[in-house]
């Protein structure tokens, strides 16, 4: 089997304790979620706030364990406590706020943090830290302090800290939500490069449609369930369904959707601007004739 992460009908609920512990209320977050992520894939997970996408991500490296169902990481059941570090080494995680995930006062020390925890010999740590910093193009900054860096740079350091573990998969939980457009671009480019060059599986949780449009596969969540799971072209052609769960679509899809409502026929699986321009040109030229 080629799956790196597979969830089997997982359920998860937070227990909400109101009134000093007297009233306990279960709030379901995930319901029967089954998802398979194949090695080397770039999967984007979309969903508006409270759709359960972050909670799902936390199941991928055993930060949360499902109330029901199973999660397998590279064939290992995440509920097995002895395998915890094996699981976390295979699936690294990057969070939203770059400031709150850097531990050390010097960039290279931070990248080394995970390896130090794992008890890797010093010479090997040095080598892997340098490799990771080069992979995210931050090698020149290895001796800087984190607070001297921009948000995008900090986030790339966080990514370097994860890839130093040589994970098979990286889960990024809205890594660009707090960044400016330039920082966003830097981080997304880095992630894409890791995926293409090193074959690292990427699970990108995001609410930016254009980031999702460039993935191999898009999973849309709503109210703790997966409602769509397909290639971007197919997913974004379902404009009405996406809008009904509070999501936007890429501008191109929106344009095609509006045009087709007016009776102008265009292929619905267009998502890039280039394709859209070509399709529109063709349409205009055929009208001239």
């Amino acid at each position: 089997m080629n799956g790196i992460i597979s969830t089997r009908k997982i359920n998860f609920a937070y227990t909400h304790i109101a009134d000093e512990g007297t009233e306990r209320e279960k709030i379901p977050v995930l319901t029967d979620v089954s998802l398979d992520v194949t090695k080397g894939e770039f999967v984007a997970v979309l969903g508006h706030n409270g759709s359960g996408k972050s909670t799902l991500a936390k199941h991928f490296n055993a930060i949360l364990l499902p109330d029901g169902g199973k999660v397998y990481v590279d064939g290992i059941d995440t509920a097995i406590e002895d395998k915890l570090f094996d699981i976390r080494q295979r699936v690294g995680m990057v969070f939203q706020n770059p400031d709150n995930q850097l531990v050390a006062t010097i960039v290279e020390e931070d990248v080394a943090f995970a390896l130090e925890n794992l008890g890797v010999p010093p010479a090997e740590i040095r080598q892997r830290v340098d490799e990771s910093l080069k992979a995210v193009n931050m090698y020149e900054y290895r001796e800087h302090a984190p607070h001297q860096l921009s948000g995008g740079q900090k986030q790339r350091i966080a990514v370097a800290g994860v890839i130093a573990m040589r994970p098979k998969c990286i889960v990024l939980d809205e890594p660009t939500a707090m960044l400016d457009p330039r920082g966003r671009q830097e981080v997304i480019d880095t992630v894409r490069e890791l995926n293409e060059k090193f074959g690292i599986t990427i699970v990108l949780i995001t609410h930016y449609m254009d980031e999702a449009a460039r993935a191999d596969r898009v999973v849309v969540m709503d109210k703790g369930r997966i409602i769509l799971d397909d290639i971007p072209k197919k997913v974004f052609s379902k404009v009405e369904l996406l809008k009904s769960v509070g999501l936007d679509v890429p501008q191109v899809s929106e344009l095609i959707f509006e045009l087709s409502k007016e009776g102008i026929e265009l292929p619905t699986d267009i998502i890039t601007e280039q394709e859209c321009v070509e399709a529109l040109l063709e349409l205009l030229q055929s009208n001239k004739k």
Binding site: V103, T105, V162, M165
Partner: protein
């Protein structure tokens, strides 16, 4: 304005003093304190004084900065000097009313002034020439024998590292919160001490809330990177004692023994 605060007051440089292994530097500083406080005669005290003057000169830390460090403790120096001057027993040199000044008293107060001034100079030289990170690291290693008696050495070092890491972040955040509160009409610059202290409350509360939130997220990120305490941890940067360290340590040892020798002779 608030960003100018430097903690640890580290002045980067490439002098011999900067290059000494931080572990050795801590041990040397301790030896120096012993040297300074065990000197009992006018012949041995100058050794400590010359020792630290020499160290400051080769560290290339501007003398102005070293002197600036002494300024805040001038009241303490005066207080100790006066105390020693009046309350040391012995043959009075002269007597005014109930106050008697003894030769021992004069000697003791001069000694105390010199000792405190050079103690501050010596210990600040340690922080001037060693980065906080290196200092924390060295402390962790030096204290590692204490692990045997269940003293949480690694945890303390980790707390210090995280504190150092988050000082700039939290200072920046304080700045933001202050601007936000000022924009809503908060007045922080006028009024008496109490009203100014009260004006700090709307800054401190959001700061604490956010610090706790950060702590929670950081803990999660650390867990994701397999953090499980100091057990089985390795370090990327190994400290290796070099020739400079041995020379510096031997030099200090020689000076210290000289002080002891003079104490015995005189």
């Amino acid at each position: 304005m608030i960003k100018d605060i430097t903690i640890g007051q580290y002045f980067p440089g490439k002098s011999i003093i900067h290059r000494i292994d931080p572990r050795y530097k801590i041990i040397i500083t301790m030896l120096f304190i012993v040297m300074l406080f065990s000197a009992k005669s006018f012949y041995s005290l100058p050794i400590g004084v010359l020792y630290i003057t020499f160290a400051i000169l080769i560290s290339r830390i501007p003398i102005k900065i070293v002197l600036k460090g002494i300024k805040p403790i001038i009241p303490i120096i005066i207080f100790t000097a006066v105390l020693n001057l009046f309350f040391i027993g012995g043959e009075p040199l002269f007597k005014i009313w109930i106050i008697k000044i003894t030769a021992d008293g004069i000697k003791m107060s001069i000694f105390m002034i010199v000792r405190i001034i050079f103690l501050i100079m010596g210990t600040s030289l340690l922080t001037y020439t060693t980065s906080p990170v290196a200092l924390t690291d060295a402390l962790e290693r030096l204290m590692s024998p204490l692990k045997k008696v269940k003293f949480p050495v690694h945890e303390l070092a980790m707390m210090m590292t995280i504190a150092l890491r988050f000082i700039p972040t939290l200072i920046e955040e304080t700045d933001k919160i202050m601007s936000a509160q000022k924009a809503r009409g908060a007045d922080m610059e006028t009024g008496g001490l109490i009203s100014r202290a009260k004006a700090l409350i709307p800054i401190l509360i959001p700061l604490f809330v956010s610090a706790f939130k950060r702590a929670e997220e950081l803990a999660l990120a650390m867990e994701c990177r397999c953090y499980h305490g100091g057990e089985g941890r390795t370090r990327m940067k190994q400290l290796h004692a070099s020739l400079i360290d041995y020379i510096a340590l031997s030099f200090t040892l020689v000076c210290t023994s000289l002080v002891f020798a003079i104490n015995i002779i005189f």
